[in-house]
Assembly symmetry: C2
Homo-oligomer: 149 residues x 2
């Protein structure tokens, strides 16, 4: 995202554009997703040790409100953030061996969701689906350690 577009977005919300916010956004958008706050803060602090944890926390919340970030909570309970620039909805495959998180998108899931909801008289707004298992390298290694979920 270009700095100007961010400044515009920010000021449209009646908020102020600060160096910290710009730096955090930049680092966040240029890293792989599914990081927790401590990891994001560590990366930010490597670039600029003056930026505090709290500011990273608040900025990620802000980005979530602006639709630039999405909060995720997998089975280990930690809040993780992913950039939304890729666009649409997706779900996750999570490796219990190495912790790798793979995104997937599946249309069949959407229609299934609607069929189930109809059967129970629900009107669904969103869903969460996570598949927990072992990725092929971990299956091959047969070393299912470092489990977290």
């Amino acid at each position: 995202m270009e700095p100007d577009r961010f400044k515009t977005l920010i000021s449209e919300e009646g908020l102020k554009s600060t160096r910290q916010r710009a730096e955090i956004l930049d680092i966040f958008l240029n890293s792989t997703g599914h990081r927790n706050l401590a990891e994001i803060h560590a990366r930010v602090a490597r670039m600029n040790p003056k930026i505090g944890y709290t500011t990273v926390y608040r900025t990620l919340k802000l980005l979530t409100r602006l639709g630039l970030a999405a909060e995720r909570k997998f089975a280990d309970g930690e809040t993780r953030y992913e950039p939304t620039h890729k666009g649409t909805h997706h779900d996750h495959l999570i490796c219990l061996g190495c912790g790798k998180i793979v995104e997937f998108e599946d249309d069949g899931l959407e229609s299934l969701q609607n069929r189930i909801a109809r059967g129970h008289g629900f009107r669904i707004f969103h869903h969460r689906m996570e598949l927990y298992g072992y990725c092929s390298p971990c299956v091959r290694k047969k070393t299912p350690l470092r489990r977290k979920g």
Copy 2:
């Protein structure tokens, strides 16, 4: 579950059968599921105010190990427990209006899961699926308050 079967289960684990454990199990099995610890403890304390929060916590952990309870974490992040006496795997519909949690089971979901996993070279052990929306009374009332997830 009959008291004797529980005593057997417990002693097979090399653990001791106590009044507290029996009371907590009894109350837990005879309530609707998806309660958090505070709620379960409140109910237990109504019957026997001497039983502490910690004991309820530890007993629910124990029941989970024994396969009598299952821990669930929905989008609000709180740990909830449900009795497993109903048997098999199921997923959840969660009303954002009134907080109601409805269980469902769907075979299509299982085959979908397998298809997705195969496509990514994963070997899946379990999944988590939650559908968030409004139940029909809440849709009708059009008062989507008390949201929690």
